[in-house]
Symmetry: C2
Subunit: 330 residues, 2 copies
């Protein structure tokens, strides 16, 4: 592998000039010298060593993304969107899968910090992820889920309360007389938002409601739904807080021989590509994944400094879209 010194030698200059050329350096370079350097670089197929550059510049041009479960299509789509956004700005994305294990989440943070990523995008299932290691290292972070009020960090997310409200209203408007809420397994800000929106939508109506919580997985949701749909409080329609859970419900309905939507309506949240092709197609609240990803990368890469030059934290809510498909249209 040729180094900047090799190129300099061939071009008859010093390695400083090579650096100036490749960075439109802090110093000007004569047209002639630039020419010779570029020619020499091409001849040797010179590629600056990213490690050395990062060491002295203190920037690695890489972003760490931590997701709870890369095998969940929503997070996979999100990861892809973030990678696209990062690549557009010449950044590399490192993806870490915490497998919804708190300990693993922390390990990934440490690992990313050791590897000197420039910033971190976090999707945690935890209410109050421990951002201490990140803050100690002085890295900018953006969470892609709601944070509790006390957390001093940026977050980009849709308004889950409003999403729950809209989805539940949709079921009401379709005329379902009993509605169930299938929420996530933890008592987090997100789950509370879902519950609040759900309650707001049904309050003042005469519909029967019931609730369950399940893991964010098809298997977990299917298991809970099987019990639920056989129970006395089995609802005629279900708002599931993720598409994965909704798919689990669809599976449970199939297993019990319930026709969807004639005997059970289902709506989820996330709007993954797969929801369009399930049997039957799944109604869902679609998240603007690419917009969120773009904004996250923008904030982290271009920095987010206010008039005073301070880094500011932002907490932005994104618009979502209600997609009505067969699973909830009687």
């Amino acid at each position: 592998m040729p180094t900047a010194r090799d190129v300099a030698k061939l071009a008859g200059t010093s390695n400083a000039v090579v650096s100036y050329v490749f960075n439109n350096g802090p110093r000007a370079v004569s047209a002639a010298a630039r020419e010779r350097v570029l020619k020499a670089a091409k001849e040797l197929d010179y590629k600056p060593n990213a490690l050395a550059r990062a060491l002295s510049a203190g920037k690695t041009r890489s972003i760490g993304l931590i997701v709870p479960d890369i095998a969940n299509p929503f997070f996979a789509e999100l990861a892809r969107a973030v990678e696209i956004a990062a690549a557009e700005r010449g950044h590399l994305l490192l993806i870490g899968d915490s497998a919804t294990v708190e300990e693993q989440e922390r390990r990934l943070m440490e690992s990313f910090i050791e590897r000197k990523v420039d910033s971190i995008i976090l999707v945690s299932l935890l209410d109050e992820p421990d951002l201490k290691p990140i803050n100690v290292a002085g890295l900018p972070v953006v969470a892609l889920h709601p944070l509790s009020a006390g957390q001093h960090a940026s977050s980009l997310t849709i308004d889950y309360e409003e999403a729950a409200y809209v989805a539940t209203r949709h079921l009401l408007e379709e005329g379902y007389q009993s509605i169930g809420l299938l929420n996530g397994p933890l008592d987090s800000v997100g789950t509370r938002q879902h519950a609040t929106g759900f309650e707001r939508a049904v309050s003042g109506t005469s519909v029967t409601i019931s609730r369950r919580a399940s893991p964010i997985s098809r298997a977990g949701a299917a298991e809970v739904a099987l019990e639920w749909l056989r129970a006395a409080d089995a609802p005629r329609s279900i708002y599931a807080t993720t598409d994965e859970q909704a798919h689990g419900v669809l599976f449970a309905a199939y297993t019990l021989g319930l026709n969807v939507p004639d005997e059970l309506a289902v709506i989820g949240v996330d709007g993954t590509a797969a929801s369009e092709f399930s049997v039957p197609p799944l109604s869902s609240i679609r998240q603007p994944t690419q917009s969120i990803a773009n904004r996250a990368v923008e904030i982290l890469v271009d920095g987010n400094v206010d008039a005073d030059g301070d880094k500011t934290i932002v907490n932005e809510l994104f618009d979502f879209e209600l997609i009505v498909r067969k699973s909830s249209r009687a």
Copy 2:
């Protein structure tokens, strides 16, 4: 951030000793000195700078994984498996998504090489991925798909010909009189293996066969399947070469009101977790994802040197498992 020199100063030694302690260095260190260094390191919360270490040692302890589509659950599960295997050996995994675009695949290779990953795991949809950049950089590679005979590289994969044979035989044994092959879109080693296995299974029988090719996505497969199932050569059963395509077929059947498996049987390949929860549950050839991932990382990290000390290339075939579910059991 404290450096090794800071630790050395506090411990009253030179930075070399600090390095020796942290690496069980190439030189011995007295118990007393080791003690003082560790104490000082703890006091300062010293973490060796991975960048500097990588620069001088020439090893980054990271592996690059290139997949054609991280939003495809099979590749997501594979990525997760590789990450687990890599983490076990203290390596970090970088995941790149080529979006099945050849140009993007090459860009990812370059990007990984620039970032000095120690090795690369490649899942290409291409028959003959261009490994030149990797070879020039002298990095070990493992492909997780069949390579054409001429390719001088390691590969770990199941035997798709045998998989196709087993799946097709299964449909025959279930008594279906017409069988369709839904293959991938390219003329690659993999698609030829599927075709060969399919042909071997049906040869000598009197079943009617037909074929189609579609992209490896639900949407693409659904579109092709819709046309196919309405055509004159519409089969009674379909062997799809991936689960994603099989799910597209299930969707097409649903759209056309065809009962699965009574009017159409479907079987896929990959055995993703989602296949267990589709409507109806999908029969599939399950790949030993974690075993393949473990072996890939083992080969790359621990090296794969034969008796002569040469790096050898390995081409291993893994066992798969036929999972029969409702989609193909009449």
